[in-house]
């Protein structure tokens, strides 16, 4: 399997996605925007449909549409501050509706491509996509290293960040845009329906395992690598869709870690109780 060019590219893509996913995923969870990834993936389908309709490379229309919606999301989040999930509900349905309408306008020929974007296809990863992923991972890692401290404060409490003099609106918009571009680049590989799971789950699992902020990111990268590589091998061996296989592996890791953590807690509590008696 490792001698096939497409599998080599698939493994390269998996490693790169594993490095970036926990960094973005953790901030998405802490900003209570886990569903934003889902919204942007639905919207990016509309971007793909637009590209196919007007005969332009869908990667670029996808990135453009997702950037616009990522900015709009921040404005809607500010507008409905207390019920910020409203912005997600509005744009998710708008994105899906627009995608369906654009697909309807461009009848025939597009079904296969749309299917690829919906469910992902790791075997069709091109060298250009690997380079794009490499550039994106480098940018995200660099931005994380530079802006880790301001993002920590912004994520902890926006009002404290504001009084500390941080440009919270600009930072929020740029973060949304970066998330949008990431989703647009990853989506053809893992599929629109499961892209958010791959971004969110490694960070969600590692949040339960580490006490510190940096610890969550490091453990998240390890979990992402484990899930992505295992899922990819399983997908190759059993001929299952890669995005779905990877997501199921993450869900299994989530279940196992939750169970083990609970058992460890109970054993600790039991020891404490025995000591007291």
């Amino acid at each position: 399997m490792f001698f096939y060019g497409f599998m080599q590219r698939a493994f390269q893509a998996s490693v790169l996605i594993s490095l970036m996913a926990p960094m973005l995923g953790l901030f998405l969870i802490l900003r209570r925007q886990s569903l934003m990834a889902d919204t942007l993936s639905h919207v990016s389908l509309a971007g793909v449909a637009l590209g196919l309709l007007i005969g332009v490379d869908p990667t670029w229309t996808n990135i453009l549409v997702v950037i616009l919606i990522a900015i709009l999301l921040e404005y809607l989040r500010m507008m409905y501050r207390t019920y910020s999930e409203i912005s997600i509900a509005i744009l998710m349905s708008a994105g899906m509706a627009l995608a369906l309408v654009l697909m309807g306008l461009n009848q025939g020929g597009v079904t296969l491509s749309i299917n690829q974007f919906l469910f992902g296809s790791i075997v069709t990863i091109s060298e250009q996509q690997i380079w794009m992923l490499l550039a994106l991972t480098s940018i995200i890692a660099l931005l994380y290293l530079i802006f880790r401290k301001p993002m920590y404060i912004l994520t902890f409490d926006e009002e404290t960040a504001f009084t500390a003099g941080l440009p919270i609106k600009t930072m929020s918009i740029l973060f949304n845009v970066l998330t949008g571009v990431t989703i647009a680049v990853i989506m053809p590989i893992v599929g629109a329906l499961l892209v958010s799971a791959i971004l969110i789950l490694p960070a969600a699992i590692s949040m339960r395992l580490s006490k510190s902020f940096n610890g969550v990111i490091l453990i998240g990268i390890f979990i992402a690598l484990t899930g992505m590589i295992t899922g990819l091998v399983a997908s190759y061996e059993y001929g299952t869709p890669p995005g779905a296989s990877i997501t199921l592996i993450f869900i299994v890791i989530f279940g196992v870690t939750a169970f083990v953590k609970k058992m460890v807690q109970q054993i600790k509590q039991g020891r404490l109780f025995n000591k007291k008696n």
Binding site: L30, P150, Y152, F156, E159, F162, T163, S212, F213
Partner: protein, 238 residues
């Protein structure tokens, strides 16, 4: 030197007046307590001062420089910190260290002096031994204390504190007030603090602003009683 200057401020929530005719100053070295009954818009006033809300009328000027001509650093402790982002994956030490970022450390490593500040801040609220605990595992009172430690770690020029002593025992409150007094008196820090403990705090503060309900208004609208020196003839701690 004025750190805060509020001039004839009014604030309306959807055309309903909440605050009117508010004017006062907080200078370098001032320890000002802000009191008023529950729902007297004390937090709303603080949020106007910090720029989180925009006054409907009048103006708020927050100085951009401290008394040495450097950038003014504001330390804010919001109300109900006990309910703060409890699931946030951070240790007590990480959170309190983040108070130092405002001191020109957004893109630099914390040095020995920063770490010493953090240690002293945690010790001052009795939380040094709990520095490796996850913040979500703390009780409400402990969360309150690390929020205070965080603001002390910042070493701000201006403290803006919204009921920071909620959940503290009498002894801890007394220690906290002494520490604030030391900061204002000996280091020229400006302090504006919302409190319900005005009987205790009047022995330490220099000015008392009380928000009282306007009797001539059909709305639940509050205004300043006056800006007065608190009477200090009797200690409530004894």
């Amino acid at each position: 030197m004025h750190y805060i200057k509020v001039n004839n401020l009014a604030f309306h929530y959807e055309n309903e007046p909440v605050l009117e005719n508010i004017s006062f100053e907080v200078n370098s070295g001032d320890f000002v307590m802000l009191t008023g009954e529950n729902g007297a818009a004390k937090t709303t006033l603080l949020r106007n001062i910090l720029g989180l809300l925009k006054p409907t009328k009048g103006s708020v000027t927050l100085s951009s420089k401290n008394r040495w001509g450097e950038k003014l650093v504001v330390g804010y402790v919001p109300q109900q910190v006990a309910s703060f982002n409890a699931g946030f994956p951070s240790t007590v030490l990480e959170l309190v260290q983040s108070g130092r970022y405002q001191r020109g450390k957004w893109f630099k490593k914390l040095d020995k002096e920063d770490k010493e500040h953090v240690r002293r801040s945690l010790e001052s609220v009795g939380m040094w031994d709990m520095r490796h605990k996850k913040i979500g595992e703390l009780s409400g009172g402990q969360k309150q204390r690390i929020s205070i430690a965080r603001v002390f770690a910042t070493d701000p020029d201006l403290f803006v504190l919204d009921e920071p002593t909620t959940g503290m025992d009498v002894h801890s409150r007394e220690e906290f007030y002494k520490l604030l007094k030391h900061n204002s008196q000996d280091h020229g820090k400006g302090i504006l603090m919302v409190t319900h403990d005005h009987e205790e705090l009047r022995h330490y503060s220099d000015k008392h602003i009380e928000l009282v309900r306007k009797e001539d208004s059909p709305w639940r609208c509050f205004s300043m009683d006056s800006c007065k020196e608190p009477s200090k003839h009797q200690s409530s701690f004894h």
